[in-house]
Amino acid sequence: MATRLDSPPPGIDDTATVLEEHIIDIVSDSGEGAQKCGQSLAGIAARMGNGIWTVEIIPAEIQPPARSIEGASGNRTRLATGPVGNGGDAADLVVAFNEQVLLGRLRAQELKPGCIVLMENMWESNPDPEIAASYVAVRDELVADGYQVYEIPMEEKCLEYVADPRRGKNMFVLGLLCRIYSLDLDLAREQVAFTFAKKGDRVILPNQQLLQAGWQWAEESLDLRFRIPATPPREPRVVVNGNTAIGLGVMASGMEVCAMYPITPATSASHYLSEIFEKVGGVVHQAEDEIAACAFAIGASYAGKCAVTITSGPGYSLKQEGIGLAVMAEIPLVIVNVQRGGPSTGQPTKAEQGDLLTSVFGSHGDAPKVVMGVGDIEDCFYSIITARRIAETFNMVVVVLTDASLATAQQPFIRPRFSEDWLAPPIDQSPIPDGAEPYEWDRDSGLARRFIPGQPKGMHCLTGLAHDRSSTVAYDPSINQEGLRNRSMKLAAFQKTLMPAAVVGDQEGELLVVGWGSTKGAIEEAVERVRADGHRAGSMHLKFLQPMAPGIAEAMQRFEHVMAVENNYCDYVGDGLIDNENRRYTNLAWMLRARTLIDIDCWGEVRGQPLKPGRIEEVLREKLS
């Protein structure tokens, strides 16, 4: 697979094998810093101009026992010449701080057969014979199975520089990897300085030493040399994870209030926002529960300060009644749902896209709202800005669906240029013209101008009861029908502003794959792979799930088969008692089948992980065969 592409830049060792990309896993017990190591590696590569995508490897438990299979904690970095939109399939190289966490990755089929394995070797001489034996057994098994195993005296080497090697190993490994991948050592030093900037030189310097030591050791004792050519960036880029991008989006959108209640994996977005929002005059309110958070946000929005509430599955379910009120009373509201594995408490730290249908159809009665999915890290940022704008333009609830995989994944994107257009104008406090009414629904668009408390002559009583144009409780049947119609019309009016759905890849042919949300990169990559084999395939990724872009059915009709690929559950005909009369489809497939009446097949998986391009590729090949 790996081929030499071009000659190395001056000063770089030309014995290195040139690669187009490599996937590097670093795993440790939690608390040993493998995550920081991976993120720094990605940061250095990004500075050099490589495409990167990082995936956090998170144990489900807060304090998993040390050296346990389920305890694997760390980071995957996909490092490539060009841009990448997902974490890829399996690791080409794995660094493991102990053999148990390594076993965890192996069992989860996260390692390429025969890949490079760098193992901390100290366990072999552990006083506990069981531990020593376990280490030897795993190592021997790997070697027997054809893995390229390198045993590294990580702790031993670190002890030369620091007293507690558990706290330094990660930077030693970083140095090692920089050498292996021919990364710039100066940039690496800067990255270390950046990583520990808050802690000052007292921490930076020894870590830089460890970095150097790792580099040195690899230089002297390892024969692994790779180089992944990069194009030095010409524009400034930012490297953040999805939840940070959401926090930045909130800040830049002109929203002033965020009300939330902690829940994984949404909370880190609120954490980041708590840190930064006050600096620009915003406020993050941690409410007593999700219901209060939603009501608080509604209150703030009603008072003219468009608000956001950020949550995940269980919290989203709790907000259903509040969402219905905002829909009914036409209060703008942005809700971010960072999806996790469901149903119920499910898999709090794991990725899933299972909340689409409940976002569209949740809340009793007819509660039309805009639902949008987020496709990558950059999209996390811009979606929030868009959401705020839609919410305030249409006095509507806008649900932004992201998920656990984007929450912690990092990807560089072009540094946004702040624009005042992102912000709403300051709230209107001018008097309401005589005779104007608080719900002066436009017959075609359903739109009405919102009255904000403080506006003279705008006094009225907002209500969640059925109401007429003057916001008076309606008992007349036709007024109820009118209210429901106008709220629905707003969706249609918004839909008319959408661009037709675009197809990536072939524009007609054998197979169209449809998706939404975080699977974008993986689907596009899988489609590219089957196209490379001569298949005529394309993919269509929907940003808006309600309402939907025009042109979807037309695009589908240009393909023989259409298949939805989603990270949520579906039945398969032939499995057990499943047939066409009882099959349950993936979320988007349900909606597209109803809308287009095209026989859209679907494939979905709920393995708590982002979908992998390789797995999707297999599925597509099967469909194409």
Binding site: I276, V280, A295, Y302, A303, F418, P433, G454, P456
Partner: protein, 329 residues
């Protein structure tokens, strides 16, 4: 055409607002319903204080009490059952210019809204909260509420309510940061009004429980107290209510109670005999959440732009050339 805020103030200064200016739709409560007395008192308060109608927001939950905002000619927010308080908090957090009032029922506040009630006390945001305690669910036609008397026959307790009623005063007084706790009764409008005024002037979360007659479902329930002034205990104090002499002649059962004396307040609340009327507790020193969370800089496009760029800087990878320039600034 658009007037500035200052213009408006000048305009409204021209003429004093009258009670009628604060009257919204015709109240649809039953004849004799205690909610009417509360409405009158709050309309009077708005008039007395000459509150600009557009600067006043009445927030309510669902219930007969929840209809309140419809009858005020101010802004109103008739939201969800039990959720009036968090909505009111959201309104207030960035709009200190608005006068926020909350009307809630015994079911709305003490049953489905319990969590918000306790936490609203703790946030201590500046708002005036009236709990219309008719000791039943009025709107849904008579089920037991947490404050329903033991043995009450209602639609969900056809054989009599099983539990002792929850005492909203004792609960309130047990919550950290509670800063203003009072009790009024609808049938002594003079004191109701004094209490409402004191609550309005208290900077913080003022909680008033009003014992409110529901002639529809508990027709004679309050009669023993209405008819026997000795069963009402007036809590007078220079920092509390000061009953007029005429009233004092009727209500002789009085106690001089210092609203700062929390332990005595708890004891009074727990006392079973007479209904205390007045300010049980008031502490103006407790910080208010909206003040604690007040932005220390203005929320302007410039501030946002600056803060945003500073944040981006933390995460930016500069192309080599720009990096140098950037470092130089």
């Amino acid at each position: 055409m658009a007037l500035t805020a200052t213009d408006c103030v000048l305009l409204s200064d021209d003429e004093r607002s009258t009670i009628e200016d604060y009257e919204g739709g015709v109240p649809r409560w039953c004849t004799g319903c205690g909610d009417n007395a509360i409405l009158t008192s709050l309309q009077r308060l708005c008039r007395d204080e000459q509150l600009p109608q557009e600067k006043v927001v009445f927030v309510s939950g669902i219930g007969c009490s929840g209809r309140f905002p419809h009858y005020m000619n101010t802004y109103g927010f008739h939201g969800l059952h039990g959720r009036a308080l968090p909505v009111a908090e959201g309104i207030k957090i960035r709009r200190p210019d608005l006068h926020v009032f909350v009307n809630t029922g015994d079911g709305d506040c003490c049953s489905i809204g319990t969590a918000h009630w306790i936490h609203a006390l703790r946030y201590n945001m500046d708002m005036t909260v009236v709990m219309h305690d008719n000791r039943t669910y009025g709107l849904t036609k008579h089920q037991a509420s947490p404050t329903s008397p033991l043995g009450l026959k209602s639609n969900t307790t056809p054989y009599g309510a099983d539990l002792n009623p929850l005492d909203p005063l004792s609960v309130t007084l047990g919550v950290t940061n509670a800063s203003f706790v009072a009790q009024a009764v609808d049938w002594i409008p003079e004191l109701l009004h004094q209490i409402v005024s004191l609550a309005f002037h208290h900077k913080g979360f003022s909680f008033i429980r009003v014992l409110q007659r529901c002639p529809e479902y508990l027709p004679a329930f309050f009669d023993p107290w209405v008819q026997d002034p000795a069963r009402v205990l007036l809590l007078s104090h220079q920092d509390g209510i000061q009953p007029a002499p005429s009233l004092s002649r009727t209500y002789r059962n009085q106690e001089e109670h210092d609203p700062l004396d929390l332990l005595r307040a708890k004891d009074i609340a727990a006392g079973a005999d007479a209904i205390p009327v007045g300010i049980l507790y008031r502490n103006p020193e407790i910080p208010r959440y909206e003040e604690l969370r007040k932005p220390d800089r203005l929320y302007t496009p410039d501030a946002i732009a600056k803060g945003f760029e500073a944040e981006l800087d933390r995460f930016t990878i500069w192309p080599e050339q720009e990096e140098k320039e950037h470092a130089a600034t």
